[in-house]
Protein backbone atom coordinates (compact mmCIF):
# COMPACT_ATOMS: atom_id res chain seq x y z
CA UNK A 1 0.00 0.00 0.00
CA UNK A 2 1.75 3.09 -1.16
CA UNK A 3 1.25 6.04 -3.37
CA UNK A 4 3.40 9.02 -3.95
CA UNK A 5 0.64 11.32 -5.09
CA UNK A 6 -0.88 11.93 -1.69
CA UNK A 7 2.52 12.52 -0.14
CA UNK A 8 3.30 15.06 -2.76
CA UNK A 9 -0.09 16.65 -2.27
CA UNK A 10 0.44 16.85 1.46
CA UNK A 11 3.85 18.44 1.04
CA UNK A 12 2.48 21.03 -1.32
CA UNK A 13 -0.12 22.00 1.25
CA UNK A 14 -3.09 20.94 -0.85
CA UNK A 15 -4.00 18.44 1.83
CA UNK A 16 -4.60 21.11 4.41
CA UNK A 17 -6.76 23.47 2.41
CA UNK A 18 -9.43 23.46 -0.20
CA UNK A 19 -8.02 26.24 -2.39
CA UNK A 20 -9.69 29.58 -3.15
CA UNK A 21 -12.78 29.56 -5.32
CA UNK A 22 -12.79 31.93 -8.27
CA UNK A 23 -16.42 32.69 -7.38
CA UNK A 24 -15.46 34.08 -3.96
CA UNK A 25 -14.86 37.74 -5.00
CA UNK A 26 -18.15 37.82 -6.93
CA UNK A 27 -19.99 36.35 -3.95
CA UNK A 28 -18.46 38.92 -1.59
CA UNK A 29 -19.39 41.79 -3.90
CA UNK A 30 -22.91 40.48 -4.31
CA UNK A 31 -23.28 40.06 -0.55
CA UNK A 32 -22.03 43.63 0.05
CA UNK A 33 -24.54 44.94 -2.47
CA UNK A 34 -27.43 43.02 -0.92
CA UNK A 35 -26.37 44.20 2.53
CA UNK A 36 -26.26 47.88 1.49
CA UNK A 37 -29.54 47.68 -0.41
CA UNK A 38 -31.26 45.76 2.37
CA UNK A 39 -30.15 48.24 5.01
CA UNK A 40 -31.62 51.31 3.35
CA UNK A 41 -34.00 50.43 0.50
CA UNK A 42 -36.80 49.07 2.73
CA UNK A 43 -36.83 52.28 4.79
CA UNK A 44 -37.85 54.14 1.60
CA UNK A 45 -40.34 51.65 0.20
CA UNK A 46 -41.95 49.91 3.16
CA UNK A 47 -44.48 51.32 5.61
CA UNK A 48 -43.54 51.78 9.24
CA UNK A 49 -45.77 48.85 10.15
CA UNK A 50 -44.07 46.58 7.64
CA UNK A 51 -40.65 47.69 8.89
CA UNK A 52 -41.71 46.91 12.44
CA UNK A 53 -42.84 43.41 11.44
CA UNK A 54 -39.65 42.94 9.43
CA UNK A 55 -37.38 44.07 12.26
CA UNK A 56 -39.24 41.81 14.69
CA UNK A 57 -38.69 38.99 12.21
CA UNK A 58 -34.99 39.75 12.00
CA UNK A 59 -34.69 39.67 15.79
CA UNK A 60 -36.55 36.37 15.91
CA UNK A 61 -34.23 35.20 13.14
CA UNK A 62 -31.17 36.11 15.21
CA UNK A 63 -32.59 34.14 18.13
CA UNK A 64 -33.31 31.28 15.73
CA UNK A 65 -29.71 31.54 14.54
CA UNK A 66 -28.51 30.88 18.09
CA UNK A 67 -30.76 27.83 18.37
CA UNK A 68 -29.86 26.55 14.90
CA UNK A 69 -26.10 26.93 15.41
CA UNK A 70 -26.17 24.71 18.47
CA UNK A 71 -28.40 22.18 16.69
CA UNK A 72 -26.35 21.93 13.53
CA UNK A 73 -22.90 22.21 15.05
CA UNK A 74 -23.24 20.43 18.37
CA UNK A 75 -26.38 18.33 17.89
CA UNK A 76 -27.99 20.00 20.91
CA UNK A 77 -31.47 21.51 21.01
CA UNK A 78 -31.83 24.33 23.53
CA UNK A 79 -35.25 25.35 24.79
CA UNK A 80 -34.00 28.14 27.02
CA UNK A 81 -33.13 30.83 24.50
CA UNK A 82 -35.86 33.06 25.91
CA UNK A 83 -34.26 33.08 29.35
CA UNK A 84 -31.24 34.86 27.90
CA UNK A 85 -33.24 36.93 25.43
CA UNK A 86 -35.64 38.23 28.08
CA UNK A 87 -33.22 38.01 30.98
CA UNK A 88 -30.74 40.38 29.41
CA UNK A 89 -33.58 42.87 28.88
CA UNK A 90 -34.56 42.68 32.54
CA UNK A 91 -30.96 43.16 33.62
CA UNK A 92 -30.60 46.16 31.35
CA UNK A 93 -33.80 47.69 32.71
CA UNK A 94 -32.81 47.06 36.34
CA UNK A 95 -29.33 48.51 35.76
CA UNK A 96 -30.93 51.69 34.47
CA UNK A 97 -33.73 52.05 36.99
CA UNK A 98 -32.19 50.68 40.18
CA UNK A 99 -28.47 51.24 39.83
CA UNK A 100 -28.47 54.41 37.74
CA UNK A 101 -25.90 53.10 35.29
CA UNK A 102 -25.41 54.87 31.99
CA UNK A 103 -27.18 53.12 29.08
CA UNK A 104 -23.91 51.92 27.61
CA UNK A 105 -22.64 50.61 30.96
CA UNK A 106 -26.02 48.96 31.58
CA UNK A 107 -25.84 47.25 28.19
CA UNK A 108 -22.35 45.98 28.82
CA UNK A 109 -23.16 44.82 32.34
CA UNK A 110 -26.29 42.99 31.20
CA UNK A 111 -24.44 41.35 28.33
CA UNK A 112 -21.50 40.23 30.47
CA UNK A 113 -23.87 38.96 33.14
CA UNK A 114 -25.77 36.70 30.72
CA UNK A 115 -22.50 35.43 29.27
CA UNK A 116 -21.32 34.53 32.78
CA UNK A 117 -24.70 32.93 33.51
CA UNK A 118 -24.46 30.93 30.28
CA UNK A 119 -20.97 29.75 31.14
CA UNK A 120 -22.09 28.64 34.62
CA UNK A 121 -25.20 26.90 33.29
CA UNK A 122 -23.30 25.39 30.38
CA UNK A 123 -20.61 24.06 32.70
CA UNK A 124 -23.31 22.04 34.42
CA UNK A 125 -25.33 20.81 31.46
CA UNK A 126 -23.24 20.45 28.29
CA UNK A 127 -21.89 17.13 29.52
CA UNK A 128 -25.34 15.55 29.46
CA UNK A 129 -26.97 13.69 26.57
CA UNK A 130 -29.00 15.71 24.03
CA UNK A 131 -32.40 14.90 25.52
CA UNK A 132 -31.31 15.74 29.05
CA UNK A 133 -29.66 18.90 27.74
CA UNK A 134 -32.90 20.01 26.11
CA UNK A 135 -34.90 19.40 29.28
CA UNK A 136 -32.32 21.15 31.45
CA UNK A 137 -32.32 24.26 29.26
CA UNK A 138 -36.12 24.20 29.44
CA UNK A 139 -36.00 23.86 33.22
CA UNK A 140 -33.45 26.67 33.61
CA UNK A 141 -35.51 28.92 31.32
CA UNK A 142 -38.71 28.22 33.22
CA UNK A 143 -37.01 28.92 36.57
CA UNK A 144 -35.88 32.33 35.35
CA UNK A 145 -39.27 33.01 33.79
CA UNK A 146 -40.99 32.34 37.07
CA UNK A 147 -38.43 34.10 39.23
CA UNK A 148 -39.32 37.51 37.75
CA UNK A 149 -42.84 36.95 39.07
CA UNK A 150 -41.68 36.32 42.64
CA UNK A 151 -43.19 38.69 45.15
CA UNK A 152 -39.80 39.27 46.76
CA UNK A 153 -38.39 40.55 43.47
CA UNK A 154 -41.40 42.63 42.52
CA UNK A 155 -39.63 45.88 43.48
CA UNK A 156 -37.08 45.11 40.77
CA UNK A 157 -39.12 43.29 38.13
CA UNK A 158 -42.63 44.75 38.59
CA UNK A 159 -44.01 41.22 38.40
CA UNK A 160 -46.50 40.59 35.58
CA UNK A 161 -46.54 44.30 34.67
CA UNK A 162 -43.02 44.21 33.29
CA UNK A 163 -40.60 47.14 33.11
CA UNK A 164 -40.58 50.19 30.91
CA UNK A 165 -37.11 50.96 29.58
CA UNK A 166 -36.70 54.60 28.81
CA UNK A 167 -33.10 55.70 29.06
CA UNK A 168 -31.59 59.16 28.97
CA UNK A 169 -28.68 59.99 26.73
CA UNK A 170 -27.58 57.87 23.81
CA UNK A 171 -26.30 54.39 23.09
CA UNK A 172 -23.92 54.25 20.14
CA UNK A 173 -25.23 57.65 19.05
CA UNK A 174 -28.91 56.72 19.22
CA UNK A 175 -31.47 57.88 21.73
CA UNK A 176 -34.33 55.88 23.18
CA UNK A 177 -36.68 57.48 20.65
CA UNK A 178 -34.37 56.56 17.76
CA UNK A 179 -34.45 52.91 18.73
CA UNK A 180 -38.24 53.01 18.90
CA UNK A 181 -38.45 54.54 15.44
CA UNK A 182 -39.02 51.70 12.94
CA UNK A 183 -37.22 53.50 10.12
CA UNK A 184 -34.14 54.12 12.23
CA UNK A 185 -34.17 50.72 13.88
CA UNK A 186 -34.44 48.69 10.67
CA UNK A 187 -30.80 49.24 9.53
CA UNK A 188 -29.63 48.28 13.04
CA UNK A 189 -31.60 45.05 13.07
CA UNK A 190 -30.48 44.32 9.50
CA UNK A 191 -26.81 44.98 10.33
CA UNK A 192 -27.03 42.91 13.51
CA UNK A 193 -28.54 40.00 11.58
CA UNK A 194 -25.75 40.18 9.02
CA UNK A 195 -23.00 40.68 11.60
CA UNK A 196 -24.12 37.84 13.84
CA UNK A 197 -24.87 35.65 10.83
CA UNK A 198 -21.37 36.31 9.56
CA UNK A 199 -19.92 35.55 13.00
CA UNK A 200 -21.77 32.23 13.08
CA UNK A 201 -20.67 31.51 9.51
CA UNK A 202 -17.04 32.25 10.39
CA UNK A 203 -17.12 30.02 13.45
CA UNK A 204 -18.83 27.29 11.45
CA UNK A 205 -16.12 27.42 8.79
CA UNK A 206 -13.28 27.59 11.32
CA UNK A 207 -11.30 24.73 12.79
CA UNK A 208 -13.38 25.13 15.94
CA UNK A 209 -16.52 24.56 13.86
CA UNK A 210 -15.02 21.41 12.38
CA UNK A 211 -14.17 20.18 15.88
CA UNK A 212 -17.74 20.80 17.03
CA UNK A 213 -19.21 18.90 14.09
CA UNK A 214 -16.81 16.03 14.62
CA UNK A 215 -17.77 15.86 18.30
CA UNK A 216 -21.44 15.89 17.32
CA UNK A 217 -20.86 13.05 14.92
CA UNK A 218 -18.58 10.80 16.93
CA UNK A 219 -17.68 12.08 20.35
CA UNK A 220 -15.93 8.90 21.39
CA UNK A 221 -13.62 8.93 18.37
CA UNK A 222 -12.78 12.55 19.11
CA UNK A 223 -11.73 11.64 22.64
CA UNK A 224 -9.72 8.75 21.26
CA UNK A 225 -8.09 11.25 18.90
CA UNK A 226 -6.84 13.32 21.83
CA UNK A 227 -9.57 15.97 21.92
CA UNK A 228 -11.33 17.14 25.03
CA UNK A 229 -15.01 17.32 24.10
CA UNK A 230 -16.34 19.28 27.05
CA UNK A 231 -14.74 22.67 26.48
CA UNK A 232 -15.71 23.03 22.79
CA UNK A 233 -19.34 22.30 23.67
CA UNK A 234 -19.21 24.79 26.52
CA UNK A 235 -17.71 27.48 24.28
CA UNK A 236 -20.40 26.82 21.67
CA UNK A 237 -23.09 27.13 24.32
CA UNK A 238 -21.69 30.44 25.54
CA UNK A 239 -21.33 31.66 21.95
CA UNK A 240 -24.96 31.03 21.05
CA UNK A 241 -26.12 32.61 24.28
CA UNK A 242 -24.02 35.66 23.50
CA UNK A 243 -25.91 35.89 20.19
CA UNK A 244 -29.22 35.53 22.05
CA UNK A 245 -28.04 38.20 24.49
CA UNK A 246 -27.33 40.71 21.72
CA UNK A 247 -30.71 39.88 20.26
CA UNK A 248 -32.44 40.45 23.62
CA UNK A 249 -30.70 43.81 24.05
CA UNK A 250 -31.79 44.94 20.59
CA UNK A 251 -35.32 43.83 21.38
CA UNK A 252 -35.50 45.80 24.62
CA UNK A 253 -33.93 48.88 23.03
CA UNK A 254 -36.49 48.73 20.23
CA UNK A 255 -39.60 47.94 22.23
CA UNK A 256 -38.68 50.02 25.31
CA UNK A 257 -40.36 47.40 27.42
CA UNK A 258 -39.59 44.03 28.93
CA UNK A 259 -42.18 41.66 30.37
CA UNK A 260 -42.45 38.04 31.55
CA UNK A 261 -43.70 37.13 28.05
CA UNK A 262 -40.22 37.78 26.67
CA UNK A 263 -38.94 35.01 28.98
CA UNK A 264 -41.70 32.58 28.06
CA UNK A 265 -41.35 29.17 26.50
CA UNK A 266 -43.24 30.39 23.42
CA UNK A 267 -40.34 32.71 22.55
CA UNK A 268 -37.93 29.76 22.63
CA UNK A 269 -40.23 27.50 20.63
CA UNK A 270 -40.92 30.27 18.09
CA UNK A 271 -37.16 30.58 17.58
CA UNK A 272 -36.89 26.82 17.15
CA UNK A 273 -39.75 26.78 14.63
CA UNK A 274 -38.27 29.74 12.74
CA UNK A 275 -34.96 27.86 12.53
CA UNK A 276 -36.70 24.75 11.19
CA UNK A 277 -38.69 26.77 8.65
CA UNK A 278 -35.62 28.56 7.32
CA UNK A 279 -33.20 25.64 7.71
CA UNK A 280 -30.72 25.04 10.50
CA UNK A 281 -27.62 24.27 8.46
CA UNK A 282 -26.39 27.81 7.74
CA UNK A 283 -26.75 31.40 8.90
CA UNK A 284 -29.18 32.58 6.25
CA UNK A 285 -31.82 29.93 6.92
CA UNK A 286 -32.67 30.77 10.54
CA UNK A 287 -32.73 34.51 9.86
CA UNK A 288 -34.94 34.08 6.79
CA UNK A 289 -37.07 31.71 8.85
CA UNK A 290 -37.51 34.40 11.51
CA UNK A 291 -38.75 36.93 8.95
CA UNK A 292 -41.05 34.38 7.32
CA UNK A 293 -42.44 33.39 10.70
CA UNK A 294 -43.08 37.00 11.73
CA UNK A 295 -44.80 37.85 8.44
CA UNK A 296 -46.86 34.66 8.59
CA UNK A 297 -47.92 35.36 12.17
CA UNK A 298 -49.07 38.81 11.13
CA UNK A 299 -51.04 37.46 8.18
CA UNK A 300 -52.53 34.60 10.17
CA UNK A 301 -53.46 37.02 12.94
CA UNK A 302 -55.39 39.11 10.42
CA UNK A 303 -57.61 36.09 9.79
CA UNK A 304 -58.03 35.36 13.47
CA UNK A 305 -56.65 31.82 13.37
CA UNK A 306 -53.05 32.47 14.36
CA UNK A 307 -52.33 29.28 16.30
CA UNK A 308 -54.26 26.98 13.96
CA UNK A 309 -52.68 28.31 10.79
CA UNK A 310 -49.24 28.46 12.40
CA UNK A 311 -49.54 24.80 13.32
CA UNK A 312 -50.59 23.82 9.81
CA UNK A 313 -47.78 25.88 8.29
CA UNK A 314 -45.19 24.29 10.59
CA UNK A 315 -46.31 20.78 9.64
CA UNK A 316 -46.33 21.63 5.94
CA UNK A 317 -42.88 23.24 6.04
CA UNK A 318 -41.22 20.52 8.08
CA UNK A 319 -42.74 17.67 6.06
CA UNK A 320 -42.27 19.17 2.61
CA UNK A 321 -39.04 21.08 3.22
CA UNK A 322 -37.05 19.12 5.81
CA UNK A 323 -33.94 21.23 5.09
CA UNK A 324 -35.94 24.43 5.40
CA UNK A 325 -36.72 27.06 2.81
CA UNK A 326 -33.10 28.09 2.29
CA UNK A 327 -31.92 24.48 2.22
CA UNK A 328 -34.56 23.67 -0.44
CA UNK A 329 -33.53 26.70 -2.51
CA UNK A 330 -29.87 25.69 -2.34
CA UNK A 331 -30.77 22.14 -3.35
CA UNK A 332 -32.71 23.49 -6.33
CA UNK A 333 -29.76 25.66 -7.39
CA UNK A 334 -27.38 22.69 -7.11
CA UNK A 335 -29.71 20.51 -9.17
CA UNK A 336 -29.94 23.23 -11.78
CA UNK A 337 -26.11 23.58 -11.79
CA UNK A 338 -25.72 19.83 -12.30
CA UNK A 339 -28.21 19.85 -15.16
CA UNK A 340 -26.34 22.78 -16.70
CA UNK A 341 -22.95 21.10 -16.50
CA UNK A 342 -24.26 17.63 -17.33
Amino acid sequence: MSGGTSRAAARSGVLLGGGVSTRAPVTVLLAALIFALGAYAPTHFLSEFALRIGAGGLLLGILALSVAFLMSQAGLVALGAASVYGGVGYLFAICLSEWDLSPTAALLFAFVAVVVYSAALGALIVRTNPLAFMMLTLAAGEMISHSVMLEGLRDYTSGADGLVVNFKGAVFGMTSADFANATRFWPIAWSAAWGLGLAAFTVRRSRFGAILRAIRENEERMRFSGFGTYLPRLVAFVFVNAIAGVCGLLHVLNSGFVSPESLGLSVSTNALVAALIGGVAGSTGPIAGGVLFAVAQDQFGAHGFTQLLTGVAIVVFIVLLPRGVVGALLDAVRRSDRRGTG
Partner: protein, 232 residues
Protein backbone atom coordinates in the same frame (compact mmCIF):
# COMPACT_ATOMS: atom_id res chain seq x y z
CA UNK B 1 6.10 -0.23 27.33
CA UNK B 2 2.76 -1.33 28.80
CA UNK B 3 2.27 -3.18 32.07
CA UNK B 4 -1.11 -4.49 33.05
CA UNK B 5 -1.18 -5.55 36.67
CA UNK B 6 -3.99 -7.57 38.25
CA UNK B 7 -6.56 -5.79 36.08
CA UNK B 8 -10.22 -6.53 36.76
CA UNK B 9 -13.40 -5.19 35.22
CA UNK B 10 -16.93 -5.91 36.44
CA UNK B 11 -20.15 -5.46 34.51
CA UNK B 12 -22.55 -5.38 37.41
CA UNK B 13 -22.11 -8.76 39.06
CA UNK B 14 -20.35 -10.26 36.08
CA UNK B 15 -16.58 -10.28 36.28
CA UNK B 16 -15.52 -9.70 32.67
CA UNK B 17 -11.83 -9.44 33.43
CA UNK B 18 -10.34 -11.18 36.43
CA UNK B 19 -6.91 -10.13 37.65
CA UNK B 20 -5.11 -10.09 34.31
CA UNK B 21 -1.36 -9.52 34.29
CA UNK B 22 0.29 -8.76 30.98
CA UNK B 23 3.36 -6.95 29.72
CA UNK B 24 3.68 -5.54 26.22
CA UNK B 25 7.37 -5.09 25.67
CA UNK B 26 9.02 -4.33 22.46
CA UNK B 27 8.67 -1.65 19.90
CA UNK B 28 8.22 -3.08 16.44
CA UNK B 29 6.31 -6.11 17.72
CA UNK B 30 2.77 -7.19 16.94
CA UNK B 31 1.06 -8.69 19.97
CA UNK B 32 -2.11 -10.69 19.30
CA UNK B 33 -4.82 -11.36 21.85
CA UNK B 34 -7.15 -14.26 21.17
CA UNK B 35 -9.76 -16.18 23.07
CA UNK B 36 -13.31 -17.44 22.78
CA UNK B 37 -16.33 -15.12 22.91
CA UNK B 38 -16.68 -13.61 26.37
CA UNK B 39 -13.00 -14.11 27.17
CA UNK B 40 -12.62 -10.38 27.95
CA UNK B 41 -10.47 -9.39 24.97
CA UNK B 42 -12.34 -6.21 24.07
CA UNK B 43 -12.88 -5.41 27.75
CA UNK B 44 -9.11 -5.60 28.25
CA UNK B 45 -8.59 -3.10 25.44
CA UNK B 46 -11.31 -0.86 26.82
CA UNK B 47 -9.74 -0.87 30.27
CA UNK B 48 -6.25 -0.22 28.95
CA UNK B 49 -7.35 2.68 26.74
CA UNK B 50 -9.58 4.28 29.38
CA UNK B 51 -12.89 3.56 27.70
CA UNK B 52 -13.97 1.58 30.73
CA UNK B 53 -12.79 2.17 34.29
CA UNK B 54 -11.29 -0.97 35.83
CA UNK B 55 -12.70 -2.32 39.06
CA UNK B 56 -9.21 -3.15 40.26
CA UNK B 57 -5.58 -3.34 39.24
CA UNK B 58 -3.41 -0.89 37.39
CA UNK B 59 -2.26 0.07 33.92
CA UNK B 60 1.26 1.45 33.59
CA UNK B 61 2.46 3.01 30.38
CA UNK B 62 6.14 3.87 29.97
CA UNK B 63 6.49 3.34 33.73
CA UNK B 64 3.71 5.77 34.63
CA UNK B 65 0.44 4.73 36.27
CA UNK B 66 -2.26 5.86 33.84
CA UNK B 67 -5.18 3.92 35.30
CA UNK B 68 -7.13 7.12 36.04
CA UNK B 69 -5.96 9.15 33.08
CA UNK B 70 -8.49 10.32 30.50
CA UNK B 71 -8.83 8.79 27.07
CA UNK B 72 -7.70 12.05 25.45
CA UNK B 73 -4.62 12.22 27.68
CA UNK B 74 -3.60 8.69 26.75
CA UNK B 75 -4.01 9.50 23.06
CA UNK B 76 -1.95 12.66 23.33
CA UNK B 77 0.79 10.64 25.04
CA UNK B 78 1.09 8.08 22.31
CA UNK B 79 -1.54 5.42 22.97
CA UNK B 80 -3.97 5.05 20.07
CA UNK B 81 -6.72 2.59 19.30
CA UNK B 82 -9.12 1.49 16.62
CA UNK B 83 -12.50 -0.08 17.15
CA UNK B 84 -14.33 -3.31 16.43
CA UNK B 85 -17.13 -1.35 14.77
CA UNK B 86 -15.63 1.23 12.46
CA UNK B 87 -15.47 4.52 14.33
CA UNK B 88 -14.91 7.30 11.86
CA UNK B 89 -16.63 10.57 11.00
CA UNK B 90 -19.16 9.49 8.40
CA UNK B 91 -20.23 12.99 7.45
CA UNK B 92 -16.74 14.45 7.02
CA UNK B 93 -14.53 13.82 4.04
CA UNK B 94 -11.53 11.59 4.61
CA UNK B 95 -9.30 14.64 4.14
CA UNK B 96 -11.24 16.72 6.69
CA UNK B 97 -11.06 14.15 9.43
CA UNK B 98 -7.43 13.22 8.90
CA UNK B 99 -6.39 16.87 8.74
CA UNK B 100 -8.38 17.83 11.81
CA UNK B 101 -6.71 15.20 13.95
CA UNK B 102 -3.25 15.67 12.44
CA UNK B 103 -3.35 19.36 13.27
CA UNK B 104 -4.48 18.67 16.80
CA UNK B 105 -1.73 16.13 17.38
CA UNK B 106 0.86 18.25 15.59
CA UNK B 107 1.58 15.59 12.97
CA UNK B 108 3.03 17.19 9.85
CA UNK B 109 3.62 13.83 8.15
CA UNK B 110 0.03 13.07 7.34
CA UNK B 111 0.99 12.12 3.80
CA UNK B 112 2.88 9.14 5.22
CA UNK B 113 -0.27 7.86 6.95
CA UNK B 114 -2.31 8.37 3.79
CA UNK B 115 0.24 6.47 1.77
CA UNK B 116 0.58 3.75 4.38
CA UNK B 117 -3.17 3.13 4.39
CA UNK B 118 -3.54 3.77 0.65
CA UNK B 119 -6.17 6.47 1.04
CA UNK B 120 -4.92 8.87 -1.63
CA UNK B 121 -7.79 8.16 -4.00
CA UNK B 122 -10.66 8.82 -1.60
CA UNK B 123 -9.50 11.94 0.25
CA UNK B 124 -12.39 14.07 -0.95
CA UNK B 125 -15.06 11.44 -0.46
CA UNK B 126 -17.40 11.62 2.51
CA UNK B 127 -16.30 8.76 4.72
CA UNK B 128 -19.84 7.43 4.93
CA UNK B 129 -19.91 6.90 1.18
CA UNK B 130 -16.76 4.84 0.73
CA UNK B 131 -16.55 1.04 0.77
CA UNK B 132 -16.47 -0.69 4.14
CA UNK B 133 -12.96 -2.04 3.64
CA UNK B 134 -11.72 1.49 2.96
CA UNK B 135 -13.57 2.75 6.01
CA UNK B 136 -11.63 0.21 8.08
CA UNK B 137 -8.43 1.66 6.66
CA UNK B 138 -9.59 5.18 7.55
CA UNK B 139 -10.25 3.93 11.08
CA UNK B 140 -6.70 2.61 11.37
CA UNK B 141 -5.34 5.80 9.73
CA UNK B 142 -7.04 7.91 12.40
CA UNK B 143 -5.23 5.85 15.01
CA UNK B 144 -1.87 6.13 13.23
CA UNK B 145 -1.86 9.93 13.16
CA UNK B 146 0.58 11.47 15.59
CA UNK B 147 2.94 8.50 15.32
CA UNK B 148 1.70 6.67 18.43
CA UNK B 149 4.11 4.44 20.33
CA UNK B 150 1.41 1.94 21.13
CA UNK B 151 -1.48 1.02 18.87
CA UNK B 152 -4.34 -1.11 20.16
CA UNK B 153 -6.76 -2.54 17.63
CA UNK B 154 -10.01 -4.29 18.37
CA UNK B 155 -10.75 -6.81 15.62
CA UNK B 156 -9.40 -4.80 12.69
CA UNK B 157 -10.50 -7.66 10.44
CA UNK B 158 -14.16 -7.47 11.49
CA UNK B 159 -16.36 -7.56 8.40
CA UNK B 160 -13.47 -8.49 6.10
CA UNK B 161 -12.93 -11.83 4.36
CA UNK B 162 -10.20 -14.20 5.62
CA UNK B 163 -7.94 -13.15 2.76
CA UNK B 164 -8.54 -9.43 3.38
CA UNK B 165 -7.87 -9.94 7.08
CA UNK B 166 -4.61 -11.75 6.41
CA UNK B 167 -3.51 -9.00 4.01
CA UNK B 168 -4.42 -6.37 6.58
CA UNK B 169 -2.40 -8.18 9.25
CA UNK B 170 0.61 -8.54 6.98
CA UNK B 171 0.40 -4.86 6.23
CA UNK B 172 0.04 -4.02 9.92
CA UNK B 173 3.08 -6.12 10.74
CA UNK B 174 5.16 -4.25 8.19
CA UNK B 175 3.81 -0.95 9.42
CA UNK B 176 4.59 -1.72 13.06
CA UNK B 177 8.15 -2.69 12.19
CA UNK B 178 8.67 0.25 9.87
CA UNK B 179 7.38 2.74 12.44
CA UNK B 180 9.00 1.08 15.44
CA UNK B 181 5.82 1.06 17.49
CA UNK B 182 4.19 -1.66 19.54
CA UNK B 183 0.79 -2.93 18.52
CA UNK B 184 -1.79 -5.03 20.32
CA UNK B 185 -4.44 -6.70 18.19
CA UNK B 186 -7.55 -8.42 19.42
CA UNK B 187 -8.73 -10.78 16.71
CA UNK B 188 -11.02 -13.75 16.15
CA UNK B 189 -9.16 -14.93 13.06
CA UNK B 190 -6.62 -17.19 14.74
CA UNK B 191 -4.86 -18.03 11.46
CA UNK B 192 -4.08 -14.37 10.78
CA UNK B 193 -2.84 -13.88 14.34
CA UNK B 194 -0.57 -16.95 14.22
CA UNK B 195 0.73 -15.95 10.80
CA UNK B 196 1.61 -12.36 11.63
CA UNK B 197 1.95 -11.74 15.37
CA UNK B 198 5.26 -11.99 17.20
CA UNK B 199 3.63 -12.71 20.56
CA UNK B 200 0.19 -14.11 21.31
CA UNK B 201 -1.81 -13.92 24.53
CA UNK B 202 -4.81 -16.13 25.18
CA UNK B 203 -7.63 -15.09 27.48
CA UNK B 204 -10.40 -17.34 28.70
CA UNK B 205 -13.37 -16.38 30.88
CA UNK B 206 -11.69 -13.10 31.80
CA UNK B 207 -8.46 -14.74 32.91
CA UNK B 208 -5.02 -14.80 31.39
CA UNK B 209 -4.38 -18.29 30.07
CA UNK B 210 -1.07 -18.11 28.27
CA UNK B 211 1.40 -15.81 26.52
CA UNK B 212 4.08 -16.90 24.08
CA UNK B 213 5.18 -17.11 20.48
CA UNK B 214 2.62 -18.50 18.02
CA UNK B 215 4.45 -21.84 18.06
CA UNK B 216 4.38 -22.01 21.87
CA UNK B 217 0.70 -21.11 21.97
CA UNK B 218 -0.21 -23.72 19.35
CA UNK B 219 1.50 -26.35 21.46
CA UNK B 220 0.11 -25.21 24.83
CA UNK B 221 -2.15 -27.93 26.21
CA UNK B 222 -4.28 -25.47 28.22
CA UNK B 223 -4.92 -23.34 25.13
CA UNK B 224 -5.76 -26.38 23.02
CA UNK B 225 -8.15 -27.60 25.65
CA UNK B 226 -9.85 -24.23 26.28
CA UNK B 227 -9.88 -22.66 22.85
CA UNK B 228 -8.07 -24.17 19.88
CA UNK B 229 -9.27 -27.72 20.27
CA UNK B 230 -8.21 -30.31 17.71
CA UNK B 231 -8.09 -27.68 14.94
CA UNK B 232 -4.67 -26.57 16.20
Amino acid sequence: MLEIANLSVNYGRVRALDGVDLTIKGAGALHGIIGPNGAGKSTLLDAVTGRRAPSGGAVRYRGQDITRRSVAWRRRHGMARSFQRTSIFQDLTVREQLTLIARHLGDDRLGDVIDAMNLGDCLDEKAGRIAYGVQRRVDVALALIGRPDLLLMDEPGAGLSAEETLNLFLHLRDLVRERGMAAVVVEHDVDAVFACCDVVTVLDLGRHLATGTPAEIRADARVISAYLGSAA
